[in-house]
């Protein structure tokens, strides 16, 4: 895979935040500059995939690393999901230009929800893929057994290629979540405030998903005023790994055309 993302450190008021950045800013169909895309990773940490590269074509992408993950240090005072959201919002203001499209995967989806709730001014379009934090009755969840976890993460693990992260590194990242006192499995305060999300939101769920229950989608759908729910066929929790083209097609369309993404433009227009 081509190395197009560069690792940097942002010096924020609250403390340092490591992130990856790559891609070149492009323009939309009307010639206006596209907003940058901020992508928030899942519990096992940052993982660059084919999808990141595809989305980076014509779009600048920022991928902050959750403090304490992947060898980074914690940021003083950032010890809750809302504080984490505030940190990312500050990052968007300081490094991304103040407003972005926001895509959160799993744990990142949970953070993204809180960013959209508490800091709506920094989010244009919102994408929630396999969103964590909203599991009623304790349904779903990450299995502890590594083999079972791998099975539930990927329906097509062969597409992952060689995972650059060691098992220990991923386990360390998952253990780091305890620092944030996450109100698992169901973040009731967030459920109560989903209606405050102003961004047009795309909710993605794999048809083979087991870690995040289907009920999460129904909670998000019932709460977020303006949203679309799309199922990615033949994908488990790691839906961008299992079905990169489908993930890119629907997310790219959504980011490029907003609500217009529901209209099939045909092969000729799509290729433009």
């Amino acid at each position: 895979m081509t190395e197009i993302f560069e690792r940097k450190t942002a010096q924020l008021t609250l403390g340092p935040l490591d992130y990856y950045v790559g891609g070149e800013a492009g323009t939309d169909e009307e010639g206006k500059p596209r907003l940058p895309l901020v992508m928030l990773h899942g519990a096992t940490g940052h993982l660059e995939t084919e999808v990141h590269q595809m989305l980076a074509e014509g779009r600048q992408i920022f991928m902050p690393i959750t403090p304490g993950h992947d060898g980074t240090t914690h940021v003083p005072g950032v010890d809750s999901i809302e504080a984490l959201a505030a940190l990312i919002a500050a990052f968007i203001v300081a490094e991304v230009g103040g407003r972005c499209d926001l895509l959160g995967y799993s744990l990142g989806g949970w953070q993204a929800c809180w960013i959209a709730v508490n800091h709506p001014e920094v989010v244009e379009l919102l994408v929630l893929a396999g969103c964590a934090g909203l599991r009623p009755d304790g349904k779903g969840g990450m299995p502890k057994d590594p083999a079972e976890l791998l099975r539930q993460l990927y329906a097509h693990p062969e597409k992952l290629g060689e995972d650059p992260r060691s098992v220990e590194a991923k386990q360390s990242n998952v253990a780091n979540l305890s620092h944030y006192n996450l109100p698992e499995p169901l973040d009731q305060p967030l459920v109560a405030r989903l209606g405050e999300i102003q961004s047009l939101t795309l909710i993605l769920h794999g048809t083979l998903e087991e870690i995040i229950p289907i009920e999460t989608c129904y909670i998000l759908s019932a709460g977020i005023p303006s949203h679309y729910l799309v199922y990615i066929y033949d994908a488990a929790h790691g839906l961008h790994v299992d079905q990169p083209e489908r993930f890119h097609d629907v997310v790219g369309d959504f980011l490029n055309r907003g609500v217009g993404f529901i209209v099939n433009q045909g092969m000729d227009r799509a290729a433009e």
Partner: protein
């Protein structure tokens, strides 16, 4: 034991044998077809009076073999003229169609009928893929994806989108949704073990036709039951439907004479064009998997017409004879296959419609009461739970 009255709706005055497919439609006469449609629908409505539990038909294209390019249209007409029987659409050729359209039409039929729909999700026979320009190799993955999509369309509580291999719909919200919850019973065609296992994995009814003998049929059912067990559920007789050419007359001899003539016309005239087309598809594509199902299909196709009625009766693959004989044959089928449904195709080839109706009267007066209690466990209609499906 429950019985489905099935009608293929053949154009039974097609004049001569042709092996060319698609069949030249120069000989098609609309007035004749109009008469046939009405006669056939009258017959199907009559089946309700004669005790059948469901009436149904299926979808075929480009051939006098069957005049139902969209069986749902016939189903809609039958709903208006019946009140008790289930409407068995066995069924739509799902991989050839827009699955959202299938979901919508089936939902309409279920609502209009007050929840009487049973629906088949059929892969079809190979030559149908030429008719609709779909690659036969894609038949199984299309059916798998469409099945999941249709179930979602029926059961999702709110609008959703679908990003799949063959189907992409960004915003789906059915009006109407089915009346039966979570959705109408679904039947998969499974005349070989591989397809039967697919039906089991999807928690669907198994529909089996044209079995070469009861032992082979039993092997298919065993594959279905074994796979279902592995998937954590136990189908009952009510989940298994077996199809048979059925001819009942006053005497065994009369029934054999009718069926022999009808089968001969069916095999030599109506089936001839698609036999060649099917061979081409099977040989030039991966319509069947690598488990020998293709060879099995071709063998069955090429030898079906060579079998005598006596041989078929001996093998238990037809129901043919006087009412007393038919009762014995049905009991044998039930004992050996354990199915809770029998699919009766009585309009075989060009058997006269009067003879078909007479057979139905005999079924009503002398057969039904003797066999309806064979499967006590089949009282409940199969409800296909979504969990784990």
């Amino acid at each position: 034991m429950r019985f489905n009255y099935f009608h293929l709706m053949p154009y039974d005055v097609f004049p001569e044998k042709t092996e060319q497919w698609p069949v030249d439609n120069a000989a098609f006469d609309a007035e004749t077809a109009r008469r046939l449609y009405n006669e056939y629908m009258d017959t199907m409505v009559f089946a309700e009076e004669c005790g059948w539990d469901s009436i149904g038909c299926n979808e075929h294209h480009f051939s006098p073999y069957g005049l139902m390019s969209n069986c749902n249209l016939i189903g809609s007409a039958l709903i208006q003229r019946t009140s008790r029987v289930k409407i068995a659409m066995f069924g739509n050729l799902v991989p050839l169609l827009n699955p959202i359209r299938v979901a919508e039409e089936y939902a309409m039929l279920d609502v209009i009928s007050g929840g009487r729909l049973m629906c088949g999700f059929m892969r079809g026979i190979p030559h149908e893929y030429i008719a609709y320009g779909i690659a036969p190799d894609e038949s199984r993955p299309r059916l798998a994806e469409a099945t999941e999509l249709i179930r979602k369309a029926w059961t999702e509580p709110a609008p959703f989108g679908w990003e799949g291999e063959f189907y992409k719909f960004r915003a789906v919200s059915l009006w109407p949704k089915p009346m039966q919850k979570p959705h109408p019973p679904i039947l998969y065609s499974g005349s070989n073990p591989d397809s039967a296992r697919t039906a089991a994995r999807n928690r669907m009814m198994l529909g089996m036709v044209f079995i070469p003998n009861l032992e082979a049929g039993r092997a298919v059912i065993d594959a279905y039951l074994d796979e279902a067990h592995k998937c954590g559920w136990e189908p009952g007789p009510e989940h298994i439907l077996c199809g048979f050419h059925t001819c009942i007359a006053e005497t065994d001899e009369a029934a054999r004479e009718h069926l022999e003539r009808g089968v001969k016309y069916f095999m030599q005239v109506l089936m001839a064009p698609q036999r060649e087309a099917q061979q081409i598809v099977v040989q030039k594509s991966r319509y069947f998997g690598s488990d020998g199902a293709g060879e099995f299909f071709l063998h069955r196709l090429n030898h079906a017409g060579t079998r005598t009625i006596e041989g078929a009766i001996e093998d238990g693959t037809v129901i043919c004879g006087s009412p007393e004989t038919a009762v014995k044959q049905i009991k044998r089928i039930h004992a050996e296959l354990g199915c809770g449904w029998i699919n009766n195709n009585m309009k075989v080839g060009n058997i006269p419609n009067e003879a078909v109706r007479r057979g139905m009267e005999l079924f009503r007066d002398h057969v039904h009461a003797e066999v309806q209690d064979l499967s006590k466990s089949s009282d409940a209609m199969p409800v296909m739970a979504m969990a784990g499906a």
